[in-house]
C-alpha cells in the first residue's frame, strides 16, 4: 500500500485520538503525580524500634545531661534530661544541634597529614600507625635534642581525665607547658587564691538557691558559662526571685532582668565598691561573718607595727554620688540596689563567668567576691561556693633525667615566672612571645591542641595565626576540621562525644561539684579514636619512662582507675556529686590568717602599699588610639551563636536574626545617637578598623546599646569546617586585642578603640 501524506496524517491523527480515548493519558497523569510524591531524591527515613539513651553533652563546658532518641543505630534527636541535676531538663540550642556534628561534612573522618599550606585545608588520610609514629618520632627527636620543654599543649580545660592524661604526658615527657585557654576561671581562681588562699579550687555560684542574683555583666541567659544550669535556674524563678544585670548593652540577660543597670563598661568594680559602702554604712552586712571569719575589714596592724588600711576605710571613699559619677548611674539607684541586695534572703553577686571574652579584672573580681563576703554567703546555700577538683587516684609519673630537667624550665607563656608569679596559664601572651622570638629559638617547637580552637578564639587572631604558623609541628586532636586543625601537621581525630567515654568535670561557675560521664550511644562512625586512647598510644610508642607512666590498656581502663569508687556510681547514674557539703567557714580558708581576707595580703603587686593590694577601682584603659568619630568595640554573646571551641552548627546559624547576619555580612550594633554622629543609617555598609584588623560590616541601630560603643557578636566569621559554617560574618577576635594585666598577665581589656566609617 502506498502511504501518501493524507493517509499518513489520518493514521497519525487516528493514533493520537485512539490514545486519548484510551486510559493511557489518565494512567500517565496519575503515575506522574505519584512519582512526584515519591521523588527518589527526597529521603524517606528508615523506621525501627526506638530507644532512649542518657549521656552528658560536651559540646561546651556546661555539662548538661541529655537523653538521646535512637532508631536502630541512628541518633535522631537530643533532648535535655530532666533527672540530671545541672540542667534539670533545660538544654541550649547547641546541645540540640550537636547531632549535626555527629553527622555532616565537618567531621575529620580519619587521621590526616597536611599536604597544603597551613590553613588551606589540604590533607591526605593516613593510617593511625603512621600518624602516631610521625608524632612520637617528632617528639622523640625534640626530646633527644634537649628541647622537651619546647613542647606545649593547649587544652580547653585543665579538669577531667583527658586533660589529666595530657598533663601527665607532658610531665613524663619533660615539659611544663600545659596551657589552658583563657576563661572566666582565670580571674576567679586568682581572687580565690588572694582572698581565700586556695591555689587550685573552683569558684562557683549556687544560683539555683539564690533569691537575688546581682550579675556584673554575666551572660547568664546569653548562652555562656553553663547555659543549661543557668537556664534551668531561671526557669524556676518566681516572684520571690530577682535578677539585676549590670551591663552597657541590653543583652538577653538584661532584657530578662528585673532591673538593667547600664553602667559604663569597666566601671563594674567601682559599682561593687559603692554598693559595699552603702551596705557597710547602713550596717546591713553579716556581722558574724565579718567578725569571725574575715580579715582586713577594719584597719589592721602588721607584725612590724605598721597600720594598714582596711576594706571598710577603703570603700568609704566610694560614696554613691562618686560612684554615680564613675559609672554613669544615679546615686539613688546605687543606694536602693545595695539595700535590696543586702536585705534579700539569699543574695549572690556574680561576675566574670559567661562573658564572651575572658576579661580578668582582678580588682573587680575581688570587689565582687567581697560583696558576697559582706552578706556572708560564702559556702552557704545560694552563695559563692569554693570547692576542690575531683580527686584522681593514679600512680605517680615516672620521670627520667630529661623530664626532670625539662620541667624546671620556665613556661613558654611566662605564667608562674617572676613577672607573673601568681598566674597559672597565659595563653593570651603566647602569640606575641612567639612572634618576637627568633625562628631558631622558638619557645614552642611542637604543639598539641585538644578541646580548643585557639587559631580562631584567641584575640588578635591574625597575630595568633601568624604565630602558630611559625610553630614547626602542630598536632590537633579535634573531631572537626576547625581552624586550628587546618593549621595542624597531623590531625588525630577524637570521637564525637556520642561515640566515646569521657568524664565531664564540674562546669565552671556552677555552684555544685558534679562530675558527669559521657558514654557512647553509637559506635564510632569513622576511623576516629578517643583522644585518651591516642595519647596513651603516643606515650607507649615513645617507650622508656614515658611508656612506663602509661601502663593502661586504654583510656577506659585509665578512667576506671582514676575515678576509682566513683566510677560505679558514674556509670550507673551518669553523674556523681563529689563532695557532700561545702567546707564549713572555720576550715574554709587557707590564707595565712585562716580567714577571708578583704585585704589580700598575698597579692603580688608591682607597687607597695595598701592601695595596690586592696581592690580599689582603677580606670582600665582600652587599647587603641582615641580619635574623633571613634567608637569602642565590644564583643557580645548571643545564645544563638556558639562562640567557643566548636563553631556554630547549621541549625543555630539558621536561627540568627536578619538584623545580625545578612548573607555574608555581619551587623554591628550601635546606638542611633552614635549613628547620627558617624552619619550612618540602618543597614549601611561600613568598615570597622582597629589596631588588630579591619572588617566590612553592616550597621544595625539598636537603642539598647550605650552611645559610643559598637558591639559585634562572637562566634561568627569561621573559615574552616564546611560551607555550611564558614564564610558567615566576621570573627570579632580578629578585631580585638588583649592587654596584659601588669602583675597577672591575664587580659584586662574589655574593648578596643575602633574607627567605624561608611563604606
Amino acid at each position: 500500500m502506498k502511504i501518501d501524506r493524507r493517509c499518513f496524517l489520518s493514521l497519525a491523527g487516528g493514533l493520537v485520538a485512539g490514545h486519548l480515548l484510551s486510559p493511557v493519558p489518565w494512567k500517565v497523569t496519575d503515575d506522574l503525580s505519584i512519582w512526584t510524591q515519591n521523588w527518589p531524591w527526597t529521603p524517606v527515613p528508615e523506621t525501627g524500634p526506638v530507644a532512649w539513651k542518657e549521656t552528658v553533652c560536651t559540646m561546651c563546658p556546661g555539662g548538661c545531661g541529655i537523653k538521646v532518641r535512637m532508631i536502630k543505630d541512628r541518633v535522631i534527636k537530643i533532648e535535655g534530661s530532666e533527672d540530671y541535676p545541672i540542667n534539670r531538663g533545660s538544654l541550649c540550642p547547641l546541645g540540640y544541634s550537636s547531632i549535626q556534628y555527629l553527622y555532616g561534612p565537618s567531621r575529620v573522618t580519619s587521621p590526616m597529614k597536611r599536604t597544603g599550606e597551613r590553613g588551606s585545608g589540604k590533607f591526605e588520610p593516613v593510617s593511625w600507625d603512621e600518624a602516631i609514629s610521625e608524632v612520637s618520632g617528632k617528639l622523640d627527636a625534640l626530646r633527644k635534642n634537649g628541647q622537651s620543654h619546647t613542647v606545649a599543649c593547649i587544652s580547653g580545660s585543665d579538669k577531667g581525665t583527658v586533660p589529666l592524661l595530657f598533663k601527665r604526658f607532658l610531665e613524663a615527657y619533660g615539659s611544663p607547658n600545659f596551657i589552658r585557654t583563657p576563661s572566666g576561671q582565670d580571674a576567679h581562681e586568682t581572687a580565690a587564691y588572694l582572698a581565700q588562699g586556695h591555689s587550685d579550687k573552683n569558684v562557683g555560684f549556687d544560683l539555683e538557691n539564690a533569691t537575688f542574683i546581682l550579675s556584673f555583666g554575666c551572660g547568664l541567659l546569653d548562652g555562656g558559662g553553663a547555659p543549661g544550669y543557668q537556664f534551668s535556674t531561671y526557669s524556676r524563678f518566681d516572684r520571690r526571685h530577682t535578677l539585676v544585670q549590670v551591663e552597657p548593652r541590653l543583652s538577653n540577660t538584661a532584657a530578662k532582668a528585673k532591673k538593667w543597670l547600664a553602667a559604663k563598661p569597666g566601671t563594674e568594680g567601682a559599682l561593687a565598691l559603692g554598693l559595699a559602702r552603702v551596705i557597710i554604712e547602713n550596717g546591713l552586712y553579716n556581722r558574724n561573718f565579718i567578725e569571725n571569719h574575715s580579715f582586713g575589714f577594719e584597719d589592721w596592724t602588721d607584725d612590724n607595727g605598721a597600720i594598714h588600711m582596711g576594706f571598710k576605710r577603703m570603700v568609704s571613699e566610694y560614696t554613691p554620688s562618686r560612684v554615680a559619677g564613675i559609672t554613669g548611674l544615679e546615686a539613688r539607684q546605687i543606694e536602693s540596689l545595695a539595700r535590696d541586695f543586702a536585705r534579700a534572703q539569699k543574695p549572690v553577686a556574680v561576675c566574670g563567668y559567661n562573658e564572651c571574652r575572658a576579661v580578668a579584672d582582678i580588682d573587680k573580681t575581688l570587689a565582687v567576691h567581697a560583696l558576697n563576703a559582706l552578706v556572708g554567703n560564702i559556702n552557704q546555700s545560694g552563695g559563692m561556693i569554693v570547692f576542690p577538683d575531683p580527686e584522681y587516684t593514679v600512680s605517680p609519673v615516672e620521670k627520667d633525667r630529661i623530664a626532670s630537667t625539662g620541667l624546671t624550665k620556665p613556661r613558654a607563656d611566662m605564667a608562674g615566672t617572676d613577672k607573673y608569679p601568681q598566674s597559672r596559664y597565659l595563653l593570651n601572651l603566647l602569640p606575641d612571645i612567639l612572634m618576637s622570638a627568633k625562628e631558631s629559638d622558638l619557645p614552642v617547637q611542637a604543639l598539641l591542641v585538644t578541646g580548643a580552637n585557639p587559631v580562631y578564639t584567641l584575640e588578635d587572631s591574625t597575630t595568633a595565626q601568624a604565630a602558630f604558623a611559625k610553630i614547626p609541628f602542630i598536632v590537633s586532636f579535634s573531631s572537626f576540621m576547625d581552624e586550628t586543625a587546618q593549621y595542624a601537621d597531623i590531625i588525630l581525630p577524637d570521637h564525637h562525644f556520642l561515640e566515646g567515654y569521657r568524664d565531664v568535670p564540674p562546669p565552671e561557675g556552677v555552684g555544685k561539684p558534679i562530675t558527669g560521664l559521657s558514654k557512647p550511644v553509637v559506635s564510632p562512625r569513622y576511623d576516629t579514636r578517643n583522644t585518651g586512647d591516642t595519647i596513651i598510644d603516643i606515650a607507649r610508642k615513645m617507650g622508656g619512662s614515658i611508656s612506663n607512666s602509661f601502663p593502661w590498656d586504654g583510656y577506659e581502663a585509665f578512667l576506671k582507675e582514676a575515678l576509682k569508687d566513683q566510677y560505679r556510681d558514674l556509670s550507673r547514674n551518669g553523674y556523681v556529686e563529689n563532695v557532700e557539703k561545702p567546707a564549713a567557714l572555720d576550715v574554709a580558708f587557707a590564707t595565712d590568717s585562716g580567714k577571708y581576707e578583704f585585704y589580700p595580703t598575698r597579692r603580688h603587686t608591682t607597687g607597695n602599699g595598701d592601695e595596690a593590694k586592696l581592690p580599689g577601682f582603677k580606670e582600665t584603659d582600652v587599647p587603641g588610639k582615641e580619635t574623633s568619630g571613634g567608637v569602642i568595640l565590644i564583643a557580645y554573646k548571643s545564645p544563638r551563636i556558639a562562640s567557643g571551641a566548636v563553631a556554630n552548627p547549621p541549625f543555630m546559624t539558621k536561627t540568627i536574626d536578619a538584623d545580625m547576619l545578612k548573607k555574608e555580612k555581619l551587623f554591628i550594633q550601635i546606638n542611633p545617637e552614635t549613628a547620627g554622629k558617624l552619619n550612618l543609617k540602618q543597614g549601611d555598609e561600613a568598615v570597622i578598623e582597629t589596631s588588630a584588623g579591619k572588617a566590612s560590616v553592616k550597621v544595625d541601630l539598636y537603642d539598647g546599646i550605650m552611645p559610643g560603643l559598637a558591639a559585634m557578636p562572637a562566634g561568627l566569621g569561621h573559615t574552616a569546617y564546611s560551607r555550611y559554617i564558614a564564610g558567615k560574618g566576621v570573627n570579632v577576635n580578629a578585631l580585638l586585642q588583649p592587654v596584659a594585666d601588669p602583675t597577672y598577665g591575664i587580659n584586662k581589656a574589655w574593648g578596643i578603640r575602633a574607627q567605624l566609617k561608611k563604606a
Binding site: T29, L32, S33, W35, T36, Q37
Partner: protein, 413 residues
C-alpha cells in the same frame, strides 16, 4: 491549481516578510521557553518569590490577562445575548484574543504552582469553598468554550473549507454558537468574580479583605464588572493596533464607537462602585481591624497613596468620562487614549490586589514593607504570552477571515 491558504479577496504581505516578523516573536518565545525550562527543572527558587511573596508577578499577570481577555465574553454577551449585530464584526478577533489570554493564563498557572504534575488535584480533590477551585473549574471550562467558539473561525480557512466535512461542520457550528456564547458568558461572570474573590476573602489580610454578599466579597462583583468594562476596550485597542501594523482599516468606526460607549458607561458605573467600596473599606472594614487608610499607603515609595489616586481618578473616572461623551469617543486620539488609561487602571487594580496585599506589613513589630522585584525568569515567562499572542494573531489574521468588514473597507485587492 492548489487553493491559496490566504482568504479570498484580501491582501497579505509576502511570506518572507511574514516569516521575519514571526521570527522576531519566536525569539522572545524561545527566551520564555528557556525560562520555563529553568523553572520546571530547577524549581521556583529560580524566581524572586519568597515566603512573604507567595503570590507575585505571575498571579498579577494571570489576573491581568484574564481580565483583559474578558473582551471575549463581554463582546459575545453583547453580540449573541443582547443581539448587537455590529459587535459581530469584531467578535472573531475578540475570541482569538480570548484564546490567547486564557491559554496564557493556564500556562502561567502551570509555571506558578510548585508541583505542576499534581496540578490536576485542584479538580480531583477540589475544595468547593476555595475561590481558586472555582477559578480553575470555570477557567478550564470556559477555555473549552472559547476553543469551540474559535473552531468555526479556524474552519473558515479556504484550504480547510475545501474538505466537505469541515465545511458543513463550520456551518452547523455557526448555527449553535449563541448557545456556547451564553455558556461562556455565564462561566465568565463566575470566574472573573472568583478571581476577585481570591484576594477579597483573605480575612487575614486587611488590605485585600472585603465584606460582601453571601459567600462573595464585593471584589467578586467588582472584578467581573471591571473586566466587562475594560475587556472590550482592550479588544478594540488591539484591533486598532492590528490596523496600525497592517496599515489597513479592518473594522468600521461605528463598531469602535459602540464598544467605547458601552465600555464608558460600564467603566463609570464600575468606578463609582469601586469608590464606594474603597470608602467603606477605608472607613469601616479596615478600621475594625485596627488599620487606618494611610497605614496601607505610607512609608513606601512604590505603594504610596498616589497609586490609589492613579487607579481611581486618572485611570478610572477620567477615561470613563471621555468615553461616555460622544465628542470624546469620536475623537480617535481621545478614544484610544482613554482606552489605554482604562487598561492601565485595570492593571493597577490587579497589581495592588495581589502585590500590595503581600507587601503591607501586618504585625506592628514588623515595620518594614516586604519588597520584591521579579527575576528574569518571571519576566521572560510573563512576556512570553505577548509574543505567543502576536504569533497566533498574525497567523489567524493571515490565514483566516477574521474581519468580515475587511473586504468592504479595502476594495481593489
Amino acid at each position: 491549481m492548489t487553493t491559496p491558504a490566504i482568504p479570498e479577496g484580501v491582501k497579505r504581505c509576502g511570506s518572507r516578510q511574514f516569516l521575519l516578523w514571526l521570527g522576531v516573536a519566536a525569539l522572545v518565545v524561545l527566551w520564555g521557553v528557556y525560562a520555563m525550562y529553568r523553572i520546571w527543572f530547577y524549581g521556583l527558587n529560580q524566581t524572586n518569590m519568597n515566603n512573604a511573596y507567595g503570590f507575585a508577578l505571575w498571579i498579577w499577570a494571570d489576573l491581568a490577562v484574564i481580565a483583559l481577555g474578558g473582551g471575549a465574553f463581554f463582546s459575545g454577551f453583547l453580540a449573541y445575548i443582547i443581539g448587537l449585530k455590529n459587535v459581530k464584526n469584531i467578535i472573531n478577533f475578540a475570541v482569538i484574543l480570548g484564546v490567547v489570554c486564557y491559554t496564557s493564563a493556564l500556562l502561567i498557572l502551570g509555571l506558578d504552582v510548585g508541583q505542576p504534575l499534581r496540578g490536576w488535584f485542584i479538580f480531583w480533590h477540589a475544595n468547593v469553598h476555595s475561590m481558586l477551585t472555582e477559578v480553575a473549574f470555570c477557567l478550564s471550562v470556559y477555555l473549552g468554550v472559547l476553543i469551540i467558539e474559535f473552531i468555526p473561525v479556524l474552519l473558515e480557512n479556504p484550504k480547510i473549507q475545501k474538505v466537505r466535512f469541515f465545511h458543513h461542520l463550520s456551518h452547523n457550528m455557526h448555527e449553535i454558537m449563541a448557545v456556547f456564547a451564553a455558556t461562556g458568558v455565564f462561566l465568565s461572570f463566575f470566574h472573573q468574580g472568583s478571581l476577585g474573590g481570591v484576594p477579597g476573602v483573605l480575612y487575614g489580610r486587611p488590605f485585600a479583605f472585603r465584606e460582601g454578599l453571601f459567600v462573595w466579597p464585593w471584589t467578586f462583583f467588582l472584578f467581573t464588572w471591571s473586566a466587562a468594562a475594560v475587556g472590550p476596550l482592550f479588544t478594540a485597542s488591539m484591533c486598532r493596533l492590528t490596523e496600525a501594523i497592517t496599515r489597513k482599516k479592518l473594522v468600521k468606526d461605528d463598531v469602535y464607537h459602540l464598544l467605547a460607549k458601552i465600555s464608558g458607561w460600564m467603566l463609570l458605573t464600575y468606578i463609582i462602585a469601586k469608590s464606594i467600596d474603597t470608602i467603606y473599606w477605608a472607613t469601616v472594614t479596615a478600621p475594625s481591624m485596627g488599620f487606618a487608610l494611610m497605614d496601607f499607603y505610607s512609608n513606601n515609595p512604590l505603594y504610596n497613596i498616589w497609586i490609589l489616586v492613579a487607579e481611581i481618578a486618572v485611570c478610572g473616572f477620567l477615561p470613563a468620562l471621555i468615553l461616555i461623551t460622544r465628542k470624546g469617543r469620536e475623537n480617535k486620539k481621545l478614544l484610544f487614549g482613554a482606552a489605554i488609561l482604562a487598561i492601565i487602571g485595570l492593571l493597577i487594580n490587579r497589581w495592588v490586589m495581589v502585590l500590595q496585599v503581600m507587601a503591607a506589613p501586618l504585625m506592628p513589630f514588623q515595620e518594614e514593607w516586604f519588597m520584591y522585584s521579579p527575576a528574569w525568569t518571571e519576566v521572560a515567562t510573563s512576556i512570553l504570552p505577548i509574543a505567543y499572542g502576536i504569533i497566533l494573531i498574525s497567523l489567524a489574521y493571515r490565514y483566516l477571515p477574521l474581519f468580515p468588514q475587511e473586504k468592504e473597507l479595502n476594495p481593489g485587492n
